[in-house]
């Protein structure tokens, strides 16, 4: 008998726990979910982000993002999960790795060059005088 009550209580507790998850997510999670949905491309209407898209799949994925956030997953985990499922193309900002490093190295190179030109051409030349 005790065991049964124990199991029942556990079940009830679990139910309540899941109910509280299913309830309206906190404002913070909501904001975070919106932010993530803006960084993902909708798999069905490719010219829109998940946030903009009205396709059924977009609604489903937005729900998934809420759930995963509520379950304590991080933004990076969710992005990785979705890009594994739908392809790298779903991310509007590619994950940084050896093959995509140029995307960041190129601007860095350009702006550093400008910076050094400025330092050498203007500031140093004055000093040398």
């Amino acid at each position: 008998m005790k065991k049964i009550i124990y199991v029942l209580t556990c079940c009830l507790a679990l139910c309540f726990a899941s109910l509280s998850f299913a309830a309206v997510p906190s404002a913070e999670i909501r904001a975070q979910a919106i932010e993530i949905s803006k960084e993902l491309r909708c798999p069905s209407s490719m010219t829109q982000s998940l946030y903009e898209s009205e396709a059924p799949i977009a609604a489903e994925l937005k729900g998934l993002i809420y759930k995963k956030l509520a379950a304590g997953e991080s933004k990076e985990q969710i992005l990785t999960f979705l890009s594994e499922r739908y392809g790298e193309q779903i991310r509007y900002e590619p994950a940084m790795n050896a093959s995509t490093a140029m995307l960041w190295l190129f601007p860095a190179f350009l702006f550093l060059t400008i910076f050094f030109w400025f330092v050498i051409a203007v500031l140093l030349r004055k000093k040398l005088k």
Binding site: A31, I34, K38, E39, R41, M46, T47, Q48, S49, Y51, E52, E54, A59, G87, E88, Q89, I90, R91, Y92, E93, P94, S99, T100, M102, L103, F106, P107, L110, F111, I114, W117, F118, A121, V122, R125
Partner: protein, 623 residues
């Protein structure tokens, strides 16, 4: 009959524009020059040919001549008259014809109205004609707007793309094309100078005129495009970093770089090679942009007129025009020796501006074509979009604003500089740490740079003697004003996505949105469900009423949203209707966007600055 007439004139213009320039260019390079006067009949024939050709296409639209494929694809007899005219440039064939015609307009105006010498005009006009010739041949061979579908003439046409059935969309493409056409002319002008190995002060002034007008139209086109996106697309965004937007943003960045470079070239006789090179780059980039729009190689919201075969032709044309231009530049650039004396602070400041704007253009271009490169190397497919570009452009804009204000304050007394810095820092701390933005650190930097820019410009305007460059003042002030809008939207906007139907209310920030009822609207081209949303303040007093629409187009069943917006100087209240969820309920997006309108006010200020500078306070032409 009239479409054949237009077709014939298009071919005539194409052939003349393609054949005559060779004779003119040969004549220019001969010693002594010969046949240079030939540009006059050539440009006039090409211009009138293209004008009549465009008019006959417009006439086909106005008279519902559905035997012309292009007309039946993009118009029908129920369309309002002004939409029928707008339909002329609503798709690939017509918009290319418009672009080519606008290049011929600019060329004719330049040839007839400027007081350049014949030797300068001849090679420039010849190069412009060559551009017109190549593009018209492309049009004639791959995308003839006058092609008929005989004998199967449809009784009714399809429809103008519903996205384009809006006043903003009627003017957005022609404005951008006016800008592109201006860039094409500045390219031709630069080729002319390179061929003659000469860049006189008069030529510099002409180049400045052409470049600044092109810049003005590009600015206007982009501002209008983003205004339209904000009002029509129903998710409150105003810039997507979509490949096609990028391809109008890159020429704008380069045109801005060119304006800065021209300043140094005219006043200090420096950067002479740059002012000849930037037009070549800008024109090449605008061709690459056309390729991106038309070929559909990169997924884009604007890809409603794409065809991979046309892409190949466009690549060929791009190479055909850019390669000779680059070779010419490489060979002849040595003849343009600027003043090589020591640079002063002013030179350094303007040079840095030129470099940053050009580098920004290169970065946007690289990010836009990166998915293509990636795919080309067989690494798979990926997307480069808004989060990437924002992460680069946010710090870049802040840095640029700080640099402008730094260089402006450099010429001020130390006391006023210190005051400006102190006030900016104080307002930055106040806004970033007491008003609860989404990202306090970013906001602190952004507000600081924006306040610095604003205050330093004002300080300069108040203390400056004669010689204030009012265009620069207003354009830079425009940047500060636009930054206010961006900070307000990205850091302080409040949004909610809710299920709503009649009787529902939702509070957001300090207001309450109440869904009152749904009305049915029946217009000429669409049916719509129109929500009536009442916005109440804290004391439940009505502030305003918003009417977002969910439109279904009669011709093809396409669904569009039309946001309900109450614009205000300090905040926009924005509601858009999403999917219908049940018989009475819709998925509604509610937004409060502080300072949103400042984004476009900044753009207007830039355009106004140009207008003001060109008409009222024409700067003395320096030699």
């Amino acid at each position: 009959m009239l479409p054949e007439f237009g077709h014939f004139l298009l071919i005539l213009a194409a052939v003349i524009a393609f054949v005559f320039p060779w004779t003119i260019l040969y004549g220019v390079l001969r010693k002594p020059p010969a046949f240079t006067g030939l540009w006059r009949p050539a440009v006039l024939t090409v211009f009138s040919g293209l004008t009549l050709s465009l008019f006959s296409l417009a006439y086909a639209f106005l008279t519902n001549d559905f035997s012309v494929t292009y007309v039946s694809e993009n118009s029908n007899s129920y369309l309002e008259t002004f939409y029928k005219i707008a339909a002329v440039w609503s798709s690939h064939e017509g918009s290319m014809l418009l672009w080519i015609w606008l290049i011929s307009c600019w060329t004719t105006l330049f040839a007839l109205l400027t007081n350049e010498s014949e030797e300068v005009k001849a090679p420039a006009v010849a190069s412009a004609l060559l551009i017109i010739g190549l593009l018209s041949l492309f049009l004639v061979f791959t995308s003839n707007p006058f092609a008929r579908q005989l004998p199967m003439v449809p009784a009714e046409g399809k429809d103008l793309n519903p996205i384009l059935q809006d006043i903003g969309m009627i003017f957005h493409p022609p404005l951008l094309f006016l800008g592109y056409a201006g860039i094409s002319l500045s390219f031709a002008f630069s080729i002319g100078c390179l061929l003659r190995r000469q860049l006189t002060p008069t030529s510099l002034n002409s180049l400045t005129k052409i470049s600044s007008i092109a810049w003005g139209f590009l600015t206007a086109g982009n501002v209008l495009g983003s205004w339209w996106a904000y009002n029509e697309l129903g998710w409150g965004g105003w810039w997507f970093w979509d490949p096609v937007e990028n391809s109008s943003f890159i020429p704008w960045l380069l045109a801005s770089a060119q304006l800065h470079a021209l300043l140094l070239a005219r006043k200090r006789h420096k950067l002479c090679k740059s002012v000849l090179f930037i037009p070549i780059a800008a024109f090449t980039v605008s061709l690459i942009g056309t390729f991106i729009v038309r070929s559909g190689v990169i997924q884009s919201v604007h890809a409603f007129a794409s065809d991979p075969n046309k892409g190949l032709f466009l690549i060929a044309i791009t190479v055909l025009m850019a390669l000779p231009a680059l070779i010419l530049f490489a060979r002849n650039a040595v003849f343009f020796k600027g003043d090589t004396s020591e640079i002063n602070a002013y030179d350094a400041a303007v040079s840095v501006a030129v470099m940053i704007l050009s580098a920004a253009a290169a970065v946007v271009l690289f990010g836009t074509v990166f998915p293509l490169i990636y795919q080309g190397f067989g690494l798979g497919s990926l997307s480069v979009g808004a989060p990437y570009f924002n992460s680069i452009f946010a710090p870049l804009t802040i840095a640029a604003a700080l640099l402008i204000s730094g260089f402006t304050l450099f010429r001020q007394r130390a006391a006023s500089a210190a005051a400006v810095i102190a006030v900016s820092a104080a307002s930055s701390v106040a806004i970033a740490f007491f008003l609860h933005p989404k990202d306090p650190i970013m906001t602190a930097f952004a507000v600081f740079s924006c306040a610095m820019l604003f205050l330093s410009l004002i300080t300069e305007a108040l203390t400056k003697r004669a010689g204030q460059n009012w265009f620069a003042f207003l354009a830079h002030l425009g940047i500060a004003v636009s930054m206010v809008g961006v900070i307000g939207d990205t850091q302080f906007q409040q949004e909610a996505l809710v299920r709503m139907g009649p009787g529902y209310g939702r509070s957001l920030g300090d207001v309450i949105f109440v869904y009152d009822r749904t009305d049915k609207v029946d217009s000429k081209s669409f049916y719509a469900d129109e929500g009536r949303i009442i916005v109440l303040d804290k004391n439940e007093k009505e502030i305003t009423e918003l009417r977002p629409q969910r439109q279904t187009f009669k011709s093809n069943g396409m669904q569009m949203t039309h946001a309900g917006i109450s614009h205000g100087l300090f905040r926009d209240l924005y509601v858009s209707m999403g999917n219908q969820l049940s018989a009475e309920e819709y998925l509604m997006r509610l937004n409060i966007k502080p300072m949103m309108i400042w984004l476009w006010l900044g753009g207007l200020l830039m355009i106004f600055g140009l207008f003001f500078a060109r008409t009222f306070r024409r700067e003395k032409d320096l030699s």
